[in-house]
């Protein structure tokens, strides 16, 4: 056996298999292509007309900044991540391969981590391509601060990790891919919308809701080019919670 730690060796085959399956069907190419087209298009032409202070698009605003593009990420990813992860567990159950998977001599946590790594990698590939294509264009047109782009990408990686773990957990408790997608989009959509409820709730509750939303932890800092330790801790906790819940949901199937 290789010198690679056994725990990691148990994770990687599942990550590779998921990625290979994603790229062996047209779904991943179509999703990446659409994302790389739609996100920059929203950034260049529409702006961000959501919330108290709508932001103009690049042509209208005329500022060499990707902040509008990063503002779209939490909402778009709330739809895209469930679409990419819906089959991760629901399809295993439908096809019966989950039964075989549970007989393999690996910890359930390793399988969960492998699927998470694959979804995270795929999502980050998509986000990086979209951000880089927009950044290169803006950098060509004006004086772009590349540090804010890098900080935004790092923050996006945290955001994608949190979203992927939640969406994968919901795929693990769903019997069908469509149900997994709807549950994932609903849950992530609600998390995204929490800051919008702040206006209709009293102070304490509003503050708690705002602090619970990944939107706040991304838009408040990384999207503006600032990396904050408290945001990292938030996303690590959200990701860990999703992964543990996912592991328990799969392990529970041995008792079903």
């Amino acid at each position: 056996m290789s010198s690679r730690p056994r725990a990691l060796a148990g994770v990687l085959p599942f990550a590779r298999r998921e990625l290979r399956s994603a790229f062996e069907s047209p779904v991943a190419y179509v999703a990446i292509g659409l994302f790389v087209l739609v996100l920059p298009a929203l950034f260049f032409f529409l702006g961000y007309p959501v919330g108290r202070t709508p932001l103009p698009g690049l042509w209208e605003g005329g500022q060499a900044s990707l902040i509008v593009l990063f503002y779209w990420l939490p909402l778009l990813l709330a739809l895209v991540v469930p679409a990419l992860s819906m089959g991760a567990w629901a399809e295993e159950r439908r096809a019966g391969t989950e039964e075989l998977l549970l007989t393999y001599p690996v910890r359930t946590g390793a399988v969960v981590l492998g699927k998470f790594l694959a979804t995270w990698t795929l999502t980050m590939l998509m986000v990086t391509l979209a951000v880089l294509s927009a950044a290169l264009t803006v950098g060509f047109l004006g004086d772009l601060d590349w540090n804010t782009v890098v900080a935004g990408l790092v923050g996006a990686a945290w955001l994608c990790a949190g979203y992927a773990s939640v969406a994968l957990f919901l795929s693990a408790v769903s019997s069908e891919q469509l149900v997994a997608f709807l549950l994932g989009a609903l849950a992530l959509g609600l998390l995204w919308a929490l800051p919008l409820l702040v206006r209709v709730l009293p102070g304490g509750a509003a503050g708690a809701l705002e602090a619970a939303s990944p939107t706040t932890h991304f838009l408040g800092s990384a999207a503006r080019g600032v990396l904050d330790l408290s945001d990292l801790i938030y996303f690590v906790l959200l990701t860990a919670l999703g992964l543990v819940a996912n592991t328990l949901a799969v392990e529970r199937r041995r008792w079903r």
Binding site: M1, S2, R6, A9, G10, L12, P13, F14, R16, R17, R20, S21, E24, S25, A95, G96, T97, E98, E99, L100, L102, T103, Y104, P105, V106, R107, E251, R254, W255, R256
Partner: protein, 322 residues
């Protein structure tokens, strides 16, 4: 070696498996039979670790199977019912994935793959996507993944289900070949297949083990029957059967007339002497003035043993393995 001790499993109000115990010794090929819904697949899932029992214990190759028993799971190759596979994958990458999951690296994995690809006759198909293969070849890929790590124990859940006769023979030959070096628990609905390849059978019905033993012993314990062929076209078959059923030692008789002769199937009472009954039947035919053309003891087939054991359970509402 497979050991099941008092395995039980319920799904809500349904008691799928009720205290099943048996042992499959090293190098043994044992047939596992039962009607649909009898608890076969649930038992097999508990023996491979994909399902944990509510009660009892199981062990594979001496290692107890529980949720954390990776060693026991590594020792068993499993082919589940309906052969679930990642159908979008190609055959070789799929088998490589299975090898990797089992911790096989580099050369060991390559050698293992070549071995199973050859033994399962998959040489010309390794580049094909699994969903493009015929059912028989998908079944071979399922077997190949079970054999990938050369496990000591194989649990095969209906490996020939839905295959054409030629494929059934090929898979059966492969199982027989594997049985020379491995412990195999083989579930199937094809009873002649079990008669051909297994010396011992387990029969499960209603979640309980109702028979466990060598095939010939179970057959001997089964209700005996004597077949009497009478050459009498004038007497109705029902009347002949009625007369023979009245003989000492007979519990029932069923007659059929084929246009020339009447064939009567006479079942022995439990504990009755079959030779004494044969004499009584011959005498009854002679006394009635019919011509006796044939009188023979019917050797119970596995099908009869199976039906009898599973019917007994339904009739008594309980069962116990021999």
């Amino acid at each position: 070696m497979i050991v099941a001790e008092g395995l039980s499993k319920s799904f809500g109000p349904v008691h799928a498996v009720k205290g099943v115990s048996f042992t499959v010794a090293r190098g043994e090929l044992v047939g596992f039979l039962g009607p649909n819904g009898a608890g076969k697949s649930t038992t097999m899932k508990m023996l491979t670790g994909s399902l944990l029992p509510d009660g009892g214990r199981a062990s594979i190759a001496g290692v107890p199977l529980d949720g954390r028993a990776l060693g026991a799971r590594a020792a068993v190759g499993y082919l589940p019912e309906h052969t679930p596979l990642y159908r979008e994958m190609r055959v070789r990458p799929y088998l490589e994935f299975v090898g990797e999951v089992h911790g096989m690296g580099g050369r060991a994995r390559r050698d293992a793959l070549e071995r199973v690809i050859a033994s399962c006759d998959l040489e010309g198909y390794v580049g094909r996507r699994i969903h493009t293969l015929s059912k028989g070849y998908r079944q071979r890929v399922g077997l190949a993944q079970a054999l990938c790590t050369d496990p000591d124990v194989l649990v095969l859940d209906e490996p020939t289900s839905g295959l054409d006769p030629a494929e059934i023979v090929r898979i059966r030959d492969l199982v027989v070949d594997l049985a020379r070096s491995k412990t195999i628990l083989l579930s199937t609905h094809v009873l002649p297949e079990v008669e051909e390849v297994c010396r011992r059978v387990l029969i499960i019905a209603g979640g309980e083990l109702v028979a466990d033993g060598p095939l010939h012993e179970l057959a001997e314990d089964s209700a005996d029957a004597i077949v009497v062929v009478v050459g009498s076209a004038e007497t109705p078959a029902e009347r002949i059967a009625g007369s023979l059923a009245a003989c000492d030692g007979a519990s029932a008789a069923r007659g059929t007339f084929d246009g020339i002769r009447t064939r009567v199937h006479v079942t022995l009472e439990r504990g009755a002497d079959r030779h004494a009954l044969a004499e009584a039947l011959a005498r009854a035919v002679h006394d009635a003035g019919w011509s006796l053309q044939e009188l023979r003891h019917e050797v119970p087939t596995l099908e009869r043993v199976f039906l009898e054991r599973t019917r007994q359970l339904a009739a008594t509402g309980g069962g116990s393995a021999k």
